[in-house]
């Protein structure tokens, strides 16, 4: 076919081959350009992006939880402190077989059924990758045994953790409260308040009491260790460290010894007591009996203990001082008397003749006095010292419910006191408007009558009664009760006072206040309703007794038969301050089923006054009180 010589043919072939070589070279150049273009894109154009990603790859932030602040009483006695202990913890996702692992661990160290129940409850509340404690406060021996067997137990770890110890015991539980493990609800609220970042690395959060209300001060600021980690997440070295800032220590107004005295004075009665400094509002003692052991809650309580605490008819988890609401009864009388004077409805010398009952005009219904035969001739001072009901029935009718409500409201009744604890009840100060709103019914005149002696719709907490008494003692200055007086900066170690809050000043004519005070002093003098409780005191006391029917804490149905008799008795109330010439302490006491205020409540207040004003302890408790001060 081809006519060309073989040589010519070869030249043509060679020329074609060289052409193809050039095409090949161009192809290679194209590929090389693609590679270099890609390199330019990654290494020059996108360099910033990738260097950042490489950094976030290698650097991880490990949170370092701060030490929680301590809680100290006014004398520096520790109420809540930290300690480090070894904990046995399990991560479900890392165990091959959870049940087998638990059995294995149970063979090595003792796990109580309670610990196991608590573990299962925590497990059900947490995610698969969360670490859940099985047993805390391991002994050195247990740590050694577990360490030796660790290789056989994937997902099982022994960790050093900070714990909270409440060495002051059950009596302080309602004040200090407790911390507990952070749950989903806590996490949600932390997220909503933008504090979530500060809790990375924290296991606990304040749940009740001061631990809850001062959480932000006590917790401190979480630090971060900047670690270089490899691809498997193992820390290679520390790059930098932002150390955690410990929480602030809190110093209370409260005196742990006084608290112990008050608690002891209750004997086997239940109830609540609060003692205030009338000038500052500082809470000197706050007792709610029964208490409970706050240490049970720190690492999660087991379900059965929780159930028994929660369902106990004695309701140990309820802070009676803040949340127990009772009709104030006769303890309202000094304030009613002051209202009568201030509103011009009564003069100090105005007297009535008490026949033992009171009837509204055009009505045959008789409102009776607690003393059937009546008190005879009664003026304002005597109406207080004798606790004359008829005097106050008339006063209430003459004053009318509207003026009564408005005057009493100035003293904070029907309103939260603003104490630095959460969960306070506001009680109830009845009014026409309130009844219409709540019950859609008009106010009846008979309701005004019984309101005059603190019965009917009236509901107050012991704390509210104490603030009323404080205002009578300090001349109308409305101070908010405060437990914490100062916080210590963890870095400078300087105590910074936390200023109290004065909500206002009720203007009271001094001569009116003096009459009422004299009436309250008469209560404690021979012939007064609580004279026995003041006998032999080296200082003078002004007080008022009262009784309250059982309302508020709903508990009647659960009492067992053996306690039935006591259960039917009224709650005993008592408010008082001392010394009268320069009041330093105000007390409100509520004794559940205590019968009369003078019989059970006033002696408790006396014990508190004695210790606070003279340092005298009840004779039978010298040693107990000392041990609480360690």
């Amino acid at each position: 076919m081809s006519l060309a010589t073989p040589l010519k043919n070869l030249d043509r072939e060679l020329a074609r081959f060289h052409g193809r070589l050039k095409v090949g070279a161009a192809f290679v150049a194209l590929l090389a350009a693609a590679l270099l273009g890609r390199g330019f894109h990654l290494q020059i154009m996108q360099h910033e992006h990738y260097i950042q990603r490489a950094e976030s790859n290698r650097i991880s932030l490990v949170p370092a939880a701060p030490n929680r602040g301590l809680i100290l009483d006014r004398n520096g006695h520790i109420l809540a402190e930290n300690y480090s202990a070894y904990t046995l913890e399990l991560t479900r996702a890392q165990t091959h077989d959870l049940e087998a692992t638990l059995t294995e661990v149970g063979k090595l160290i003792e796990i109580t059924p309670g610990q196991l129940r608590r573990f299962r409850r925590l497990l059900s509340e947490s995610h698969e990758f969360e670490t859940v404690p099985l047993k805390s406060k391991l002994t050195d021996e247990e740590v050694a045994i577990l360490a030796a067997n660790r290789y056989r137990l994937p997902g099982v770890e022994v960790k050093a953790r900070l714990f909270r110890n409440y060495q002051a015991g059950p009596g302080m539980a309602h004040v200090v409260g407790f911390i507990g493990r952070i749950n989903d609800r806590d996490l949600k609220s932390l997220r909503e308040t933008g504090r979530e970042e500060n809790y990375r690395g924290s296991v606990h959060i304040g749940k009740t009491g001061l631990e809850q209300s001062y959480e932000t001060l006590l917790h401190g600021r979480t630090g971060f260790d900047q670690m270089e980690t490899d691809a498997s997440g193992r820390a290679v070295r520390m790059l930098s460290r932002i150390p955690p800032v410990p929480g602030k220590d809190l110093r209370l107004y409260l005196d742990a010894d006084l608290q112990a005295v008050a608690e002891h004075a209750f004997g086997d009665y239940l109830g609540g007591l609060v003692a205030l400094d009338p000038n500052t509002g500082g809470v000197l003692a706050l007792v709610s009996k029964p208490g409970f052991d706050p240490n049970l809650f720190v690492d999660g309580i087991d379900p059965e203990t929780w159930k028994s605490l929660n369902e106990s008819p004695e309701r140990p988890m309820v802070n009676r001082v803040l949340r127990g609401i009772y009709p104030p009864g006769s303890t309202i009388k000094p304030l009613m008397a002051l209202a009568g004077l201030e509103l011009g409805v009564r003069k100090p010398s105005d007297s009535i003749v008490d026949p033992g009952y009171f009837s509204l005009p055009n009505s045959r219904h008789r409102f009776r006095d607690w003393k059937r035969e009546g008190h005879g001739v009664v003026d304002l001072r005597r109406s207080i010292s004798q606790s004359c009901d008829i005097y106050y029935y008339r006063l209430a009718v003459d004053m009318g419910i509207d003026r009564m409500h408005d005057y009493l409201a100035q003293f904070g009744l029907g309103e939260k006191t603003g104490i630095d604890l959460e969960g306070e009840s506001s009680g109830l100060l009845p009014s026409r408007e309130w009844k219409q709103r709540r019950w859609k019914k008009p106010w009846y005149p008979g309701e005004t009558v019984i309101a005059g002696i603190g019965q009917g719709y009236h509901l107050t907490t012991p704390l509210q009664l104490a603030t009323v008494a404080a205002m009578l003692a300090n001349g109308g200055k409305r101070v908010e009760p405060r437990l914490v007086q100062a916080a210590r900066d963890p870095l400078t170690h300087i105590w910074q006072p936390l200023p109290g809050v004065v909500r206002g000043q009720v203007a009271i004519a001094p001569e009116h206040l003096e009459v009422v005070r004299q009436g309250m002093m008469d209560v404690m003098r021979p012939g007064g309703t609580a004279a026995a409780s003041a006998a032999g005191a080296p200082y003078t006391i002004a007080g008022k007794t009262g009784t309250a029917q059982i309302v508020g804490i709903k508990q009647g149905a659960r009492y067992d038969a053996s306690r039935l008799a006591r259960q039917h008795r009224d709650h005993a109330l008592f408010i008082a301050y001392a010394p009268t010439e320069n009041p330093r302490i105000v007390v409100a006491v509520m004794v559940e089923n205590g019968g009369s205020g003078s019989g059970t409540a006033a002696p408790i207040a006396r014990a508190v006054f004695d210790y606070y004003l003279t340092g005298k302890r009840p004779g039978d408790m010298q040693l107990e009180a000392n041990s609480a001060a360690d």
Binding site: G24, A32, G39, Q43, D230
Partner: protein
């Protein structure tokens, strides 16, 4: 003694100085990067040195085999390779879901490796034999020789290797003068049948391609390798983080970093400047190879030299493209850089052939 040294000098005279310099430069860089990537593991470094020594020896030997003798190995190697591929299809061991390995009793062997050289050798031998009477039917026969191993390897399934071997066969046909009409026609046909071919791809192959298109879709699975290697390269910047200073490398973020992903380590520690230099070295080898092809006295030499040169750069492109995220992840090492004896020996065997073609010019002129 003088006799021996004379013999050695004669053997070494078949080495091409330019190629040798370039290869040694690359191997030196490789040694440094493997040392860094392995955390200066003595086992890795000495293993690499042994591989380099072995591969260089093979290169020297191949450089001394004259091309006309080499060409005679074409048919038997090709036939043996194809037979073994059939054997693999029938009796092969399954590893990682594909049938690629043949158990020879004393060692497991991938016949597809053998074909990387055997197919070009066979085709070059075939075209040399029919040089004077080259017609279209010879290209058809060559295409058939290409397709048989290509389809057998594709069936294993090993798309990456099939494409690499297919490419080497195609280069040879191209340099042998495959008409442009057929090239363009075939390309058009291939593009048209792409959607159909997609359907024939295995799930994992489809996934690899999809992963390339969007690596973040599967950041912990297939996408992880690409994401980490692009982060490494990108974070290297213009001058790199410095030898042994790459955090992606030193902290284990780059997978397979002494072997397939060694380019990520290099890019991180030596930067864009290093990448330009490295690509430049490869281009220099290709350029030298093409010059040797242009000067080769026989068709066999020309075809082998040109094909091997382009083939080498194809491997470079596929590897770097994969590591920098523009090509799917296929298990292709970076020529002369990655740790691994088989690949290095195969490559330097090819370079030896190039040198043989270069230095046996005058001897075979007639």
């Amino acid at each position: 003694m003088p006799r021996t040294s004379h013999w050695i000098v004669r053997r070494l005279s078949h080495l091409d100085g330019i190629l040798l310099t370039l290869v040694v430069a690359l191997l030196g860089i490789s040694l440094a990067v493997v040392a860094s990537a392995s955390g200066q593991s003595p086992a890795r470094i000495s293993g690499h040195l042994v591989n380099i020594g072995l591969a260089l020896t093979v290169m020297v030997v191949m450089a001394n085999v004259p091309p006309h003798i080499l060409s005679k190995f074409g048919p038997p190697l090709y036939v043996a390779g194809v037979v073994m591929l059939v054997g693999v299809a029938l009796f092969g061991e399954i590893r990682n879901g594909s049938r690629r390995w043949l158990n020879l009793g004393f060692m497991a062997f991938q016949p597809s490796e053998l074909l990387k050289l055997a197919l070009p050798l066979m085709l070059a031998w075939y075209f040399q034999r029919n040089e004077a009477i080259l017609r279209l039917k010879h290209f058809a026969a060559g295409g058939a020789m290409l397709l048989v191993p290509f389809l057998l390897i594709l069936r294993q399934p090993d798309l990456g290797t099939a494409l690499m071997i297919g490419a080497s066969g195609f280069y040879l046909l191209f340099f042998a003068g495959l008409p442009w009409k057929i090239i363009f026609g075939g390309a058009a046909l291939g593009a048209a049948s792409l959607p159909v071919a997609w359907g024939f791809l295995h799930d994992y192959q489809q996934r690899r391609v999809l992963t390339l298109l969007d690596p973040t879709a599967d950041p912990l699975g297939d996408g992880y390798h690409i994401i980490q290697s692009t982060i490494a390269i990108g974070s290297g910047g213009l001058f790199g983080k410095g030898w042994m200073e790459g955090t992606q490398n030193q902290l284990d973020f780059i997978p397979e970093r002494t072997t397939d992903f060694i380019f990520a380590v290099f890019g991180e520690e030596f930067g864009y400047v290093g990448v330009i230099f490295l690509v430049g070295l490869y281009l220099a080898i290709v350029a030298r190879g093409l010059v040797i092809a242009a000067r080769a006295p026989t068709l066999f030499g020309r075809l082998m030299a040109a094909t091997l040169s382009l083939n080498l750069f194809t491997y470079v492109f596929v590897n770097m493209g994969m590591v920098s995220g523009i090509l799917p992840v296929v298990g292709v090492p970076l020529p002369l850089m990655s740790y691994g004896g088989t690949a290095l020996v195969t490559l330097l065997l090819g370079v030896g052939i190039l040198m043989s073609v270069a230095t046996h010019r005058q001897l075979n002129k007639t």
